[in-house]
């Protein structure tokens, strides 16, 4: 059985940083069609900082890794994706507590908890930020945690399905019907992060 330790989560985050770095141009391009052309550089800046701080502080427990990564995203990304991804990781980390190793089931549960508590998105004076909606990276990620367990590849294609939908959240919502046919940048980056998780799991299983 696959058991996940702090090292696993550090590898996940560093795979995520690599994936985001590689795909930054595409994420920004997607965001430029229906947003403000910064999603790629936002995450690139954030995950570079995450990789650096994990390298420096080397937290010893899975929960501590995710909580630190989340805090770092919050402090360096800004925008919508900073608090959303940051809060998700931070709360997932908190839910994992200080155990030295966790099972994939525990991680899935913690991600769901992190997502439920991601209600910070909802404090915008009742104007519709109050649930993590269609495009919510956290939501997608939580739903796709199954991917990790199955070791399947969730990366790359994520978000393509969104093209038929009309954006209701984030800047893309301002486009109204013109958002239909566009791929959501946040959904795409979620797929990248999940893909990084899956790859990390794969290579761990392979090594085991």
């Amino acid at each position: 059985m696959l058991v996940l330790d702090a090292e696993f989560f550090r590898r996940w985050m560093s795979a995520a940083a690599a994936a985001v770095d590689r795909e930054a141009g595409r994420l920004t391009e997607l965001d430029s069609a229906i947003g403000d052309a910064d999603h790629g550089s936002n995450l690139q800046r954030g995950f570079a900082a995450v990789a650096a701080v994990l390298d420096k502080e080397q937290p010893a427990a899975p929960g501590a890794v995710l909580a630190l990564a989340g805090r770092q995203l919050i402090s360096t990304v800004g925008g919508a994706s900073g608090p959303l991804y940051g809060t998700l990781l931070r709360r997932t980390g908190k839910a994992l507590g200080d155990e030295a190793e966790v099972t994939p089931e525990r991680l899935a549960e913690a991600l769901r908890a992190g997502r439920r508590r991601g209600g910070a998105a909802g404090r915008g004076e009742g104007r519709g930020q109050d649930d993590a909606g269609r495009a919510d990276p956290g939501g997608r990620r939580a739903r796709r945690v199954a991917v990790v367990r199955r070791g399947a590849d969730g990366g790359g294609r994520g978000g393509a399905r969104d093209r038929t939908l009309q954006a209701r959240k984030g800047r893309a919502s301002y486009l109204g019907e013109r958002s239909i046919g566009h791929q959501d940048p946040g959904a795409t980056s979620s797929a990248l992060l999940i893909g990084a998780l899956a790859d990390t799991a794969d290579s761990t299983e392979g090594a085991a």
């Binding site: 936002n42 994706s81 919502s173």
Partner: protein
Amino acid sequence: MLINVAETVVADALRGMAAAHPQLTVDVENRVVVRRDAPVADKVGLVSGGGSGHEPLHGGFVGPGMLSAACPGEVFTSPVPDQMVRAAAGVDSGQGVLFVVKNYTGDVLNFDMAAELAEDEGVRVAKVVVDDDVAVTDSLFTAGRRGTGATLFVEKIAAAAAEEGAPLDRVAAVARQVNESSRSFGVALSAVTTPAKGSPTFDLPPGELELGIGIHGEPGRERRPMMTSGEIADFVVDAVLEDLRPTRPVLVLVNGMGATPLLELYGFNAEVQRVLSGRGVAVARTLVGNYVTSLDMAGCSVTLCQVDEELLRLWDAPVETAALRWGR
């Protein structure tokens, strides 16, 4: 672009601001611009911020009679909570701090987190979310209207109340009143190019214009063949009036998006005034210039704010910032 590399654009600008404005304390590393004499005893502080690329908003509005501090984020990206917490702590005299937040998911989320953290540090925080852009239909299913030009009115007028010694809840109430009394609509004649992307965020052929744009290079709701200044004024002012239906005199902001020559903006203002007087709307004051911009975007927006005598008095009160100055 007149830059070194995309990564240092905001830090470079802050260093340049510091050199130009000795009356500001610019913390380049932590990205906070504070009026030199903060905290002002017994005065409510006003902190705003948002993505960079909208200059002079917000740093250019820091000073006596307007903001206590501003937190610039990356270009078109809301700042991070650390910045607002630091700014709030720096300007709080014990009377509390008002956060002026433009209604974008990122701005709202980050300021909310900051409010929580600042309150943990013992700073009383109130918040007003500015959402004046009628181009975006308000609805439960969307993020709501965007915050654009009204931010200037909210910051100036609420700050004047603070300057007079109004307590936090009153300053917040004034800010909300100004926001509720304000509506905007914007038009782009060209797209915007961000340093990170290096090419225009959308494709707008010369000879066409985009109606209902935001200030982040978000494409608008509708594209049309080029219209004259007069036709644009008809369209834009009517869009605002339809939503605002003012019964009192209005403040008018004829705002350039960054690359529209002042010559054209003044000409456009003449048309805006024509439409307003044709619709029987009295104009109390008019401000023309590039105030809430979108980097190198050509275009303009109109913001109207209907005012009673109290708001007008606060608008006229002295202000002494890099970008807005009058009175005394």
